[in-house]
Amino acid sequence: MATEIFLPAMSPTMEEGTLAKWLVAEGDTVKAGQVIAEIETDKATMELESDESGTVLELLIAASGNAVKVGTPIAMMGEAGES
């Protein structure tokens, strides 16, 4: 079952964030707890960890693009071969 990964609020005041760097690529398998991206917030650059193990199906937001609002889907995760 593919699930969306949302941009989380990484501080109580964060409203938007910029995807500084993806540390995974589409098709990569990730483990729960693995850092998958670096997010620039209003305060600092924070590491985003994956909640679950699975395969990165799609990266929805490009790195170093414009800031996106908290709650925006940034990637799809699931099992290899799913869409």
């Binding site: 079952m1 949302f6 989380p8 609020a9 990484m10 707890g33 850092v35 909640d51 908290v70």
Partner: protein, 353 residues
Amino acid sequence: MAKAAKSADNTKHQSTPNTERDPAPPYPKSYKASTDELLEFYRQMLLIRRFEERAGQLYGLGLIGGFCHLYIGQEAVVVGVQSALKKGDSVITGYRDHGHMLATGISAKATMAELTGRSGGISRGKGGSMHMFSQEHGFYGGHGIVGAQVPIGAGLAFAHKYNGTDNVSVAYFGDGAANQGQVYEAFNMAELWNLPVIFIIENNQYAMGTSVNRASAENQLFRRGESFRIPGVQVNGMDVCDVRGAAEEIIPWVRSGKGPVLLEMKTYRYRGHSMSDPAKYRSKDEVEQMREHSDCIEATKRMLLEGGKVTEEQLKELEKKIRAEVAEAADFAQNSPEPDASELYTDILVGSY
């Protein structure tokens, strides 16, 4: 994965029963669970984990106010203990309590809606994680003050004794709370009055900002009852069968009127103390090692599959059901209305004055 099975050594904590009091309970054995029991442990632990992950996401979306303390990593403790309790027993804990609520049978919907402060929540949205409560399920909170649940837990045990039931009270607290003064006042009275209470220290090895070894003069927490003549037992809290085995041995012992016992569950939390804790006091590698080699859910999954009576497909089907249950809870928690303003005046006094 096969290699990981052997590596439990680094978390297999040798236990030393404290024999200060005579008689002390025998050292518990690991529980031999049937396939059905093991499957049920697995279901409950996985439900707690998926629930907590979703709670973390909702917190990240700003839907949960205040603090949020996740139970991820510690699931075996509450699931193992709860499985050995009976109706009428009471459970009380601190604010890392969502898992305890699910284990006592409170629905995922009512728990999640309480986190988001909606009227469908177990405390009608007025409490949040620090004021969750359900007398019906024998769950007495959900407490915001570190360690404050311990004397209340002793009080619940007093009530069981006073009312002449054979029920017991289980008071959970963390390694940080184990350094609070009121815990020891409660120990003293509990032993003095021979109360049917099981004190459970969930030692996840880190309090809010530092490790138990840096913050505790006696870091073998199962010995903390010694000067009160309360026997203590250390248990591998990452193994649900070890936890159940300990509960199986100790709960009837306490139930039979032999006085309080202290159980130290050696466990581990993968997330920060709360959502706003970056957990810089430990290495990422340490967390990864624990996840990789000592995870209670993965270990149970391996036991199920190795037993040969459960297939990978069955477990996937179960996981799908759990995901649906959690998704439904999350939807409910976002769509249930906020409490009406008139609720400000309810649940304050018993009766009307």
